[in-house]
């Protein structure tokens, strides 16, 4: 293929503007024109090979002009914005755009891996299954062979690579409601939209391309006396001006969910060289529509023949669009190969635009006279009852071999003719785009007359229109669009009004193709271009016994690439049907799944990512920020990680803070803990059933540490619960567990034990919490607390008291997470900052130190208290040396399955600590092994919570180790191959400080 720019004039290059645009492809600068797609600009520059294929690394060119493109996938941009597998046919050109071809090394024109083509038979259907899943050879399991080969195969197969860098863009979300959603703005979509809008409905219209109009933008017909594209532009302007219509272009309706809910992705700035900073890159629209008109048109499908993947072979209608809309000839000499009337019209329209059409090859002998007449205008040589047998040219089309073809038997004759051409425009008929309705469960029906699947009966409030329901041709499309809108208005309980169908002048042709899908001449002919699935692969799958289309699809990977087989599914089915001697209708189809085209993950994450993500702040947040605390995102919460002094690292800061807490007193914001108010006559019984330990006999004014299990016996959450009154408890949960614990309690209250009289309320945000910890904490409280004796006798360990501090009503609980003498002081959250200030002031003469999450964590690790990394959903109380917390006198959630035999095995991972013997920091995520760095041996456990311990004067970590409780004193290694770390450690008890608890009880 050697494309070039045509002489632009009226009707040639209708989408192309005057401005010249510079862009870069594979490091080389090129020039295109305003309005070009990347594909049309490459074509106009004579670039024919734009990528290499997935499996065989065969050269590939541009195949289509839209989102169905299987071949021309490129990587756009560089750095953090690098985006692989983007269809060049959909990329709008702008100044400075950079794109790279994919899956080639060292270059797209010379690719070393193309040697795979020679080994073609080895990579046929089921290659992976046969080679790697079988019984294996010479004593080696096939799966081991896979592990060995995987690295090479992964390098050789595949498409583009993404980036590991964080996405610098942001994305938006819209929730929209309408009476009628119109999907597609071809003839049918526009007809539907104008009737729906005239009927007073709130209408949303979505168009995938940049400009509304669908096929109207390239057809030569007239509507209401003006060229179809002008009529479309007029309709577009009228719709845009209406208050009850939202017209969204560059917006693909990707998914059709239950209850007439749609997901559409709008590409807001992808076509702009310099988007405004505040504009989201893409926007996800959740559209809820009372009714919908689906006017998604049809996709042209190819005829499969030997060498049909050579650059230069492309869909006929796409070739026309390049000529008419983009003013670009797809080749210097174009041959058209068709099984229906479309090919002839394409030949005529291209010839009119100035493209030289050398040949029209039609498999049919019986071509209508008025269609034949067209060939005179194109001056092309006509071969009817003929087919392309093979393609000439190693890296791009340089010609084709034509042979006589028997439409009935599918046999090729002996007489051959070689023609010279550099582009073959192929039309194999039209496949309606019913992806959305198929997602909804609508079963497609084969319509033999049209040689096409049609969408079948609606399962929701939608009405099909245009080619999507087989209404081919402008007149039929406009009529069906108008009619569908009438039905949709009725769905939305609006007046249908009277329809109006504009007048059409132009070609009236039969869109039904001859039932020819493949010309079987023995050469390599591709059904699925993107996944390199050949017609022979499909037949092989059939010979090997794959009769269901679902199995065929998975075995051959047909239709499973990023294009989801838009141009290959029907052909694949037809070849399968022929192989099994069945009708296409009896072969069945697979169901389409959302999305219609690939979707950027950022668009789905939307406002949950980046500066729009929700944040939760504690009442003392501003104070932390004023102190220049290092803030750390802990789920949605922002918490101070450490309060660094000038020049201090985070590690230096938390070591200092930890030391000062153990020597004197520290203060920390614990407002993020989950808090649940549990009340009612049966509150005690309820908690007794939820926790592993007893709560019924807890005296009023006391707190107790409690463990919760899931029903399967694994630990779920922990925390202290305070008995405030006979029938009232205040439960605290972990920060991360607050939401799920609330749901857990509600489930048992509502569904399992509805007879218990218990009320639950989440009060996490109502209370501010401050912990004061360290040997001098009592002195601090003494200086400011009124109405409560804070001596050991007045407020014993685990005691809870009401008091006031500077007039603020508080609850003081003597609890210790750090292992020191410590208190938690709670007050109404609006008093949080005042209380913090009062406690801080009272602590000044004891040099009170604010401490962050790192020090909080270090203190509890030294003490051997478990937290999130140990409560990871895979541990039981026995594993964490908390068996003493499990009551044997009552039944509770998880009590029965905790008895499972497997939980008492001696080699379960058990909680220990390790301390570094060589001064190295114990790397987070490390495994515990017995061997050296080069030969570490198998993993015997892993570290969970590492830190530096000022108390022990070395790096330590909590860890889970096989049979760990019996292995204290053992010398081992931590090993982190990912970070290339390895170091000597000693296994020790997790009670690293004050094992008898003298400090906190003091």
């Amino acid at each position: 293929m050697s494309g070039f720019r045509l002489n632009l004039r009226d009707g040639v290059g209708t989408a192309i503007g005057d401005k010249s645009i510079q862009f870069v492809f594979d490091g080389k600068p090129y020039r295109g024109r305003e309005g070009d797609s990347l594909a049309s600009a490459l074509m106009a520059n004579g670039v024919s090979i734009v990528g290499r294929s997935f499996k065989y690394h065969r050269p590939r060119g541009i195949f289509s002009a839209g989102s169905e493109e299987p071949n021309a996938l490129v990587t756009l941009h560089r750095g953090a914005r690098r985006e692989p597998n983007i269809r060049a046919t959909e990329v709008e050109l702008y100044d400075g755009l950079t794109a790279r071809s994919q899956n080639r090394w060292p270059s797209v024109n010379f690719d070393v891996m193309a040697i795979n083509q020679l080994a073609g038979s080895a990579f046929s259907a089921g290659f992976y299954y046969k080679t790697f899943m079988g019984p294996g050879r010479r004593g080696h399991k096939a799966t081991q062979f896979w592990w060995f080969c995987e690295q090479f195969i992964r390098r050789a197969a595949g498409l583009g690579r993404g980036t590991n860098l964080p996405d610098p863009d942001h994305y938006g979300r819209m929730n929209a409601y309408c009476d009628i959603l119109v999907v597609g703005t071809g003839a049918a979509g526009l007809a539907a939209a104008r009737r729906a809008a005239a009927g007073g409905a709130r209408v949303i219209v979505c168009e995938e391309r940049a400009v509304a109009g669908g096929s109207l933008t390239s057809l030569p017909d007239y509507i209401d006396g003006e060229p179809a594209r002008d009529w479309a532009a007029g309709q577009r302007d009228e719709l845009s001006a209406m208050d009850n219509v939202t017209l969204l272009t560059r917006t693909t309706v990707q998914s059709y969910f239950d209850d007439n809910t749609f997901l559409a992705i709008e590409r807001v700035t992808d076509h702009q060289a310099r988007p405004a900073a505040a504009t989201p890159r893409q926007r996800a629209w959740n559209i809820r529509a009372r009714s919908a008109v689906i006017a998604t048109g049809a996709l042209e499908r190819p005829i499969v023949f030997a060498g049909n993947d050579r650059p230069g072979v492309m869909l006929a209608d796409a070739a026309r669009r390049y000529a008419v809309e983009f003013g670009t000839a797809p080749g210097r000499a174009v041959a058209v190969f068709t099984n229906n009337d479309t090919g002839w019209l394409v030949a005529r329209d291209m010839a009119r635009a100035g493209v030289i059409v050398t040949d029209i090859i039609d498999v049919r002998t019986d071509v209508p006279d008025e269609i034949r007449a067209i060939s005179e205008e194109t001056r092309a040589a006509v071969s009817t009852g003929s087919a392309i047998r093979s393609v000439k040219g190693a890296r791009a089309v340089s010609g084709a071999v034509i042979a006589e073809y028997n439409e009935m038997t599918g046999e090729l004759g002996e007489t051959r003719k070689t023609i010279a051409c550099d582009c073959i425009a192929v039309s194999g008929g039209w496949s309606p785009v019913f992806h959305l309705t198929s997602q909804q469960g609508g079963k497609p029906v084969w319509e033999a007359e049209l040689q096409a699947f049609l969408p079948g009966e609606p399962t929701q409030n939608w009405h099909g229109a245009g080619a999507m329901v087989g209404a081919f041709g402008l007149r039929a499309a406009l009529q069906s669009g108008d009619k569908a809108a009438g039905a949709a208005l009725a769905d939305a309980k609006l007046r249908k009004g009277r329809g109006h169908v504009p007048k059409v002048e132009g070609d009236a042709i039969d869109y039904a193709p001859a039932p020819v899908f493949e010309i079987n001449s023995g050469g390599k002919s591709f059904v699925d271009l993107q996944h390199d699935v050949t017609a022979e692969d499909v037949r092989l799958a059939h010979r090997e016994g794959f009769v269901s289309v679902e199995h065929l699809k998975r075995y051959t990977t047909l239709g499973m690439a990023t294009d989801q087989g838009k141009t290959s599914n029907v052909t694949g089915l037809a070849i399968m049907a022929a192989a099994s001697d069945k009708a296409i209708a009896d072969t069945g189809t697979t169901r389409f799944r959302p999305p219609y085209t690939p979707v950027t993950l950022g668009a789905l994450a939307g406002e949950k990512y980046g500066h729009l993500a929700a944040e939760r702040l504690t009442p003392m947040h501003d104070w932390h920020v004023e102190q220049d605390a290092h803030m750390y995102a802990n789920g949605p919460w922002l918490r101070p990680e450490s309060y660094n002094l000038p020049g201090e690292t985070v590690e230096q800061a938390y070591i200092r803070e930890t030391r000062l807490v153990r020597e004197g007193v520290g203060i920390v914001d614990v407002s993020t803990l989950g808090k649940i108010d549990v009340q009612g006559p049966d509150a005690a019984e309820f908690l007794n059933r939820i926790y592993t330990n007893g709560f019924a006999k807890l005296p009023v004014g006391k707190a107790r540490y409690g463990l919760m299990l899931r029903e399967d016996g694994f630990l779920f959450d922990d925390g202290t619960t305070w008995r405030l009154a006979e029938n009232r408890y205040l439960m605290t949960t972990t920060t991360a567990g607050a939401g799920r614990v609330m749901e857990h309690l509600e489930y048992y209250r509502d569904f399992v034990w509805p007879n218990l009289k218990v009320a639950l309320a989440s009060v996490s945000d109502e209370w501010a919490g401050i912990a004061v910890a360290g040997p001098k904490s009592r002195a601090v409280l003494k200086a400011c607390v009124k109405g409560c004796d804070v001596s050991d006798k007045g407020l014993p360990f685990m005691g809870v008291r009401d008091a006031t501090i500077g007039g603020i009503e508080v609850k003081i609980a003597r609890l210790s997470f750090s292992g020191e003498l410590a208190y938690e002081v709670y007050c109404g959250s609006h008093h949080g900052q005042s209380l913090w200030d009062l406690l801080f002031k009272a602590g000044e003469k004891h040099n009170i130190v604010p401490y962050g999450l790192e020090a909080l964590s270090t203190l509890r690790i030294e003490k051997g208290h478990v937290a999130g990394p140990e409560l990871n959903g895979r541990t039981t109380p026995h594993d964490l040396a908390l068996s003493g917390m499990v009551s044997s006198k009552k039944n509770f959630v998880g009590s029965v399955l905790l008895q499972r035999e497997t939980f008492s095995k001696a080699d379960r991972l058990q909680l220990v600590a390790v301390k570094s013997l060589d001064g190295q920091r114990v790397s987070g995520g490390s495994h515990l092994v017995s061997g050296s760095k080069d030969n570490p041996g198998r993993s015997q456990g892993h570290v969970t919570s590492p830190c530096y311990s000022p108390e022990l004067g070395c790096y330590i970590s909590l860890a889970m180790l096989e049979g760990g409780s019996a292995r204290h004193g053992e010398k081992m290694f931590f090993s982190n191959p990912v970070r290339n770390k390895h170091g000597a450690v000693e296994v020790i008890s997790h009670h690293m400080i004050d094992p008898t608890g003298g400090r906190m009880h003091g």
């Binding site: 239950d258 029903e711 509502d750 569904f751 509805p754 029965v896």
Partner: protein, 90 residues
Amino acid sequence: MRLTCPYCGSRDHQEFTYRGDATAVRPALNNTSIDDHNAYIFDRSNPDGVHQELWNHTSGCRTHLVVERNTVTHEVLSCKPVGPFARKLK
């Protein structure tokens, strides 16, 4: 998918949390049979057709609803509140 909460009206499924099979009944508190608990936790019938599911309107009124839903057609046949407060509100 949309569910009609008897208190809040028709709402998007994103407001709700699925809590599992509403036909699974927890063994009584004094039942200590591992088999019974095992069945309650792990055995699910995955029916093809009408099924009862438990949903919590977590981003709404936090009522638990037993939703009768067809797993094939996705048709929601009914949404009934459960729990001690549901009865009193009726």
